[in-house]
């Protein structure tokens, strides 16, 4: 064996050769004797390390071949070896201890090693040894390592040998855990008494602290503890059983952790563990508490300890998150009744401390942002604390009345202060107090603040509502009004101003309204109550005057203080918006901030969803000022709709160059028309009609907008058309909006020389604009308009197929045409009844046929040829998936939505199902799908999703496929199973079971499908037994294997026989044979029965664990 040597003495080849020797050595069979010999004689650390590794791997691999006694003696040998050599290199010792731990762990799997005796050993180890000698630290280390072996998996050790994770290992008994905990406490106690720890001792200390953390992070919930333990120790809360009372309710335990933390808090690594232990103790709940009073006194003790810890120190950066965790855990886990049962001065001190801490973390977090630190510890801690506030405030009714108002004011104000520039705030002030200003490049992938900080903003908004009394009246709105006067043109000053306004608008938005996805947003009750409470002091006329005059200074209106504050906050944003609009009219657009523009329309959209035309039936009580200003049938509502519309139109014409802002703007427009009540008012505005006409004429400035914005604008215009109008108005509206589109299109394509002029730029643009508009129209589909939109779109779809021919050599147009079909199918298929669906199926089929015809035999050399084809196929696949979705999402109620339109077509005429169309489509797509194209991950995914779908939903259609198609489908499955990512492989495995079940149902042998499944049996068998595979796949592969075995029992026996007969070693042969017998024991004869399948899957896990190792022995 070559030894490691300085590079000067050995060549690279020699080194590689030596590495190779070690690697093959580790794989050799039963290397125990030689390893022992090496350990006893060699003095080279690296060789010792390799020997320990070889032992560890061999033991696991050959476990079922080894005698229990020889395993035991091996373990004793290793332990003694370490204990007798206190001066071993650290990494060698660790590796040997790992080997011991793995042996113990593997032993506990089949109960061949007795836990009790191990604990006895550990206890002796810990108490033995002279405290002053170096031996003690070794003993303690060994003890810790043994304890750890009960808690951890050593999955990595198993993994390197088997290439898969071990089956679920038995959880340590609670009794064992408690033993470990008690031992750990003893050691920690001992350490906490000592002065001056040397480096070695402090690393031992750290080991035990980590051990304590592991025990406290244990998930005591029954079945799946191991899984949850290994995945996210952080999220596990402490819920020990009654038997832990003595160990955990003793106040000395908690005190010990506080003491330990004080001792080591400057060591950031150890501090993390000690704080985590405390956080776990703060999360303690469940049967361990005999009664409420025990819980109260436990919490009181915890809070006292915490307060004295925090108050006595200057918090280190590394402590922030840990401390926030403790607080957040105790607020989340302890019932409100326990929190309120605390002595009231203790509770008050706690809340005060929390307030100060939150404000201070907030300031530090702001500083972190300025310094652009990578590791934002204060930000994380601040997030946690704000979240805790949210929890407290949501349960406000349980706490003494008003106890959170002052804290909320403080936290809210400090948040605002951190986000405003000097002199009102502290933003951008670095430590030295100098404002920094950077001009970093921001790309489009960066999230907007309103999403990035949405959690913080929701908490702060909520706190703001609690403190509504104080806040709504002054701060934000006054600052908003004060700041919205861009008198200066210094860009830097302006940017500071914009940043202030940016944050104020965001906070105001989160303060006034929520954004519940999918539900009707309600006015927050705090805001409603606030407005009601003050309505007697409010002069409604002045309030309306303030609202209706965004161009004037609010303070110039007499009596402006006697107005509703909620409305004043809105009017403050409207005033900002008005300043912005006027600046654009004065051609000052260059000086404005698009970000602020975005904030304004974002706010207005959020506000409009909640407040505009509120449904009074949804509220118990309603504020008169609010309902007078924005309620249904009010002038205020009409005025504001008009104002918002004007804002939208102005934005769309001046901000076409800002895609995000234009997008937010058009979304505001959609919000205005997507609800019938609002749309009814919108369509009464002359501006709306002007917008519609302007857009239909494709004249500037609207056609400068990006395509996606134009699409959404089309959607909004169509949605508006379904508002309530009298018949004439409605006819006129459609004549303005949709008919021009149709007319222009028809005029164009019906020209005799259309084919010749089709490549002219103007013609191409007209076509593209039409197709884009069609996508927008499809997007506007709702259940109550699908009938008319479908008919309108269907006319276009057949013309589109003609376009496919004309533009067969123009990939960008082809792509867009397919997209129209995708959109229509996506938005409408679920509402369509049989006859309508059939029409759409047919159109899609024709599209695919034409596409296929045009592309067969076509070759292109341009750089984007492959990319173009990739995009086409992706869209086609999407189209097929959309069509297929009809089979499981179907809202059509036997053409309910089309009633009256359609003369009763007999249902029996149903001849084409989604499956037929999709399979036909696949038939067209398959010849175009090359292995090269499958290298595009998204295309590959979509393709396999589609074929798995088909196999799962229509297994009965598979045997009827044309031969070629059937063959390519089976080839695709095989390819996906064997040479694609594990995700794809899993999809393919999932497709196999339904196919095998289909075969079994038909009971026809020698069909192509029957033969194909036989082939798959071998593939899956090899995959599970012989090849390396991912654990996640074991279940999917196991299910597939089981159904395949049921179908082909004889072939399965042959496979097993031939595998066995290739084994020369008699012992291995026997173990293998046993393993196979055991595998099928519970399911003989195999039958497609759920119960048996589950039993099979269970024995498969064990089988893979045992056999995986055996077959690796070379």
């Amino acid at each position: 064996v070559k030894l490691p040597a300085p590079p000067s003495m050995v060549s690279t080849e020699q080194r590689q050769h030596a590495e190779h020797i070690f690697l093959s050595f580790r794989k050799s069979k039963s290397p125990f004797a030689i390893c022992k010999h090496i350990l006893e004689t060699s003095k080279v650390d690296y060789v010792l390390f390799q020997a320990a590794t070889a032992i560890m791997e061999a033991v696991v691999r050959e476990w079922i071949l080894l005698e229990k006694t020889s395993i035991e003696s091996l373990r004793t040998f290793l332990l003694t070896y370490v204990l007798q050599r206190p001066n071993l290199q650290k990494y060698v010792r660790e590796q040997i201890l790992l080997a011991v731990a793995v042996i113990v762990k593997r032993g506990s799997l089949d109960k061949s090693i007795n836990c009790k005796s191990i604990f006895h050993e550990v206890g002796q180890l810990i108490s033995s040894g002279n405290p002053t000698s170096g031996i003690q630290s070794v003993c303690l280390l060994v003890g810790a390592s043994l304890c750890l072996s009960f808690l951890c998996f050593y999955a990595s050790a198993f993994h390197s040998i088997f290439s898969f994770h071990p089956p679920v290992l038995p959880a340590p008994q609670e009794e064992d855990l408690r033993q470990i905990f008690v031992l750990t406490m003893e050691v920690l106690q001992e350490f906490s008494r000592r002065e001056n720890l040397n480096a070695q001792m402090s690393s031992v200390f750290q080991r035990y602290l980590a051990l304590a953390n592991q025990v406290l992070s244990w998930n005591f919930l029954p079945p799946n503890h191991i899984l949850s333990f290994s995945k996210s120790a952080q999220n596990v809360t402490l819920k020990p059983t009654e038997s832990w009372r003595e160990a955990l309710l003793d106040t000395r335990v908690m005190d010990l952790f506080f003491t330990v933390h004080r001792k080591i808090r400057e060591d950031s690594d150890m501090a993390q563990d000690s704080l985590q232990c405390l956080a776990q103790l703060a999360s303690m709940h469940g049967p361990i508490f005999p009664d409420e009073s025990a819980q109260v006194s436990y919490l009181a003790h915890l809070v006292e300890g915490l307060l004295s810890m925090i108050n006595g120190i200057e918090i280190e950066d590394s402590e922030a998150v840990g401390i926030a965790n403790i607080i957040s855990n105790l607020i989340t886990m302890f019932p409100r009744s326990i929190l309120t049962a605390l002595p009231s001065d203790l509770f008050t001190s706690f809340i005060n401390c929390l307030t100060l801490l939150t404000c201070s973390f907030g300031r530090s977090a702001a500083l972190e942002e300025v310094l652009d630190k990578d590791d934002m510890v204060y930000m994380e801690a601040y997030d946690k604390l704000l979240e805790s506030w949210l929890t407290l405030v949501q349960d406000e009714e349980h706490f003494p009345r008003g106890c959170f108002v002052q804290p909320a004011v403080q936290v809210f104000n400090s948040y605002i202060q951190c986000h405003l520039a000097a002199p009102d705030g502290t933003r951008n002030l670095s430590v030295s107090g100098i404002a920094t200003h950077d001009e970093e490049e921001i790309n489009e992938l960066q999230e907007d603040d309103r999403e990035l900080f949405s959690d913080q903003l929701s908490s702060v908004g909520m706190l703001g509502r609690v403190a509504a009394d104080h806040l709504l009246t002054f701060r934000t709105q006054q600052q908003l009004m004060a700041s919205s006067d861009p008198g200066s043109v210094d860009r830097k000053v302006l940017d500071d101003l914009y940043e202030d306004i940016h944050w104020l608008i965001l906070v105001s938005g989160y303060l006034l309204a929520d954004d519940p996805q999918g539900e009707t947003p309600l006015i927050p009750s705090e805001v409603m109550e606030f407005s009601i409470k003050h309505s007697t002091e409010v002069d409604i006329n002045t309030t309306l005057q303030i609202l209706g005059s965004p161009g004037e200074k609010a303070s110039s209106i007499p009596g402006c203080n006697r107005t509703d504050s909620v409305i004043r906050l809105l009017s403050a944003v409207l005033r900002t918006s008005e300043v912005e609009s006027r600046a654009t009219r004065a051609s000052l657009t260059q000086l404005l901030s698009p970000q602020m523009g975005k904030d304004i329309v974002w706010f207005l959209r959020r506000w409009a969803k909640t407040y505009l035309l509120m449904d009074e039936k949804l509220y118990e009580q309603i504020s008169i000022p609010l309902s007078t200003a924005f309620g249904p049938d009010t002038e205020g509502a009409q005025w504001i709709v008009g104002y918002l519309l004007e804002k939208v139109i102005n934005n769309l014409s001046v901000w076409s160059s800002e895609p995000d802002l234009a997008n937010d703007t058009v979304e505001l427009l959609v919000t205005l028309v997507e609800k019938r009540e609002r749309a009814n008012i919108v369509v009464q505005c002359e501006n709306w009609w002007n917008l519609a006409k302007q857009f239909a004429s494709r004249s500037p400035p609207l056609h400068l907008l990006s395509r996606s914005v134009q699409r959404t604008l089309m959607k909004a215009l169509v949605l508006g058309g379904f508002a309530h109008m009298d018949l004439d108005a409605k006819q006129q509206y459609w004549a303005e909006v949709l008919h021009p589109l149709q007319q222009r299109f028809l005029n164009l394509i019906n020209q005799e020389n259309f084919a010749q002029i089709s490549q002219e730029e103007a013609v191409k643009q007209e076509i593209v604009a039409t197709l884009e508009a069609l996508c927008g129209i499809a997007e506007a589909t709702q259940i109550d308009n699908v009938a008319s939109l479908f008919s309108f779109l269907m006319d276009f779809l057949s013309s589109c197929i003609g376009l496919m021919e004309v533009y067969s050599n123009t990939p960008e147009t082809i792509n867009l045409i397919i997209e129209v079909f995708v959109e229509v199918a996506h938005k409408q298929i679920c509402y369509l009844g049989e006859t309508k669906s059939m029409k759409l199926y047919e159109a899609c089929l024709t599209l695919l046929q034409v596409y296929s015809k045009n592309n067969l035999g076509r070759k292109r050399s341009d750089a984007t040829a492959e990319e173009d084809q990739y995009q086409d196929l992706l869209l086609i696949m999407e189209l097929l998936t959309n069509l297929l979705s009809k089979e499981f999402i179907d809202f059509s109620d036997t053409d309910e939505v089309f009633r009256g339109q359609e003369q009763g077509t007999p249902a029996s005429s149903r001849t084409v199902s989604a499956a037929d169309v999709v399979l036909y489509g696949v038939n067209i797509v398959l010849p175009l799908m090359s292995q090269d194209l499958l290298k595009f991950p998204s295309l590959c995914n979509q393709y396999y999703k589609l074929i798995t779908f088909i196999c799962e939903i229509f297994p009965e259609k598979i045997p009827q496929l044309p031969e070629d198609l059937f063959k390519s489908l089976m080839f695709s499955l095989e390819l996906g199973m064997t040479s694609m990512s594990s995700e794809i492989s899993q999809l393919c495995l999932e497709a196999l079971s339904p196919l095998a079940e289909q075969c079994a149902k038909n009971q026809e042998k020698d069909t192509p499908l029957f033969i194909a499944t036989r082939h798959f049996l071998k593939l899956v068998f090899d995959m599970l037994v012989l090849q390396k595979h991912n654990t996640e796949m074991t279940v999917a592969a196991g299910e597939a294997l089981y159904t395949l075995v049921c179908l082909h029992q004889a072939e399965y026996s042959e496979l097993v026989e031939s595998l066995l007969s290739s084994q020369r070693d008699a012992v291995i042969y026997q173990r293998l044979a046993d393993a196979f017998n055991k595998l099928t024991a519970s399911s003989t004869p195999p039958a497609m029965d759920r119960k048996q399948k589950v039993a099979f899957l269970k024995s498969l896990e064990e089988f893979v664990a045992n056999v995986g190792g055996l077959l690796c022995v070379k």
């Binding site: 921001i442 056609h703 020209q751 045009n854």
Partner: protein, 155 residues
């Protein structure tokens, strides 16, 4: 926009490029970068500072040479967009490295060389094998090149 164009006239007199506001460009569309007609393969926006105005970053591939070009400009600016035209011809003959192409009206042109790439080789091979096929010719900004072929359906 409709009024700016007259669908009735033939192809003569068409400008080889036309301006478009940056923000209205789109991926898979075309743009002139460094004086060359390019297909846009990547398009993204960015801004300088949170309150800055949008800039558009474009990556394009020269439709004739396959060379990659990049450009960035304020999104309010106009960029030139090349007028792209694709025509199909039947290949009649290859003469001295030049293709003899016939359009749908039976008119013959012989000014385009067989391109020096895979498609060129395919064209020659199919011609040798006396197969019937169409050649796609791409033209933009006064340049023309054969970029694809399509076997004729057996009629």
């Amino acid at each position: 926009m409709a009024d700016e164009f007259d669908f009735q006239t033939g192809e003569s007199g068409a400008s080889s490029t036309y301006p478009m506001q940056c923000s209205a460009l789109r991926k898979n569309g075309f743009v002139v970068l460094k004086g060359r007609p390019c297909k846009i393969v990547e398009m993204s926006t960015s801004k300088t500072g949170k309150h800055g105005h949008a800039k558009v970053n474009l990556v394009g591939i020269d439709i004739f040479t396959n060379k990659k070009y990049e450009d960035m400009c304020p999104s309010t600016h106009n960029m030139d967009v090349p007028a792209i035209k694709r025509s199909e011809y039947q290949l009649v003959n290859i003469n001295d490295g030049y293709m003899c192409l016939m359009d749908e009206h039976g008119e013959i042109r012989e000014d385009l060389p067989v391109p020096n790439n895979d498609i060129g080789k395919d064209i020659e091979a199919k011609f040798e094998a006396s197969e019937d096929f169409m050649v796609t010719v791409l033209s933009a900004m006064g340049e023309e090149c054969a970029v694809g072929l399509k076997a004729m359906a057996s009629k």
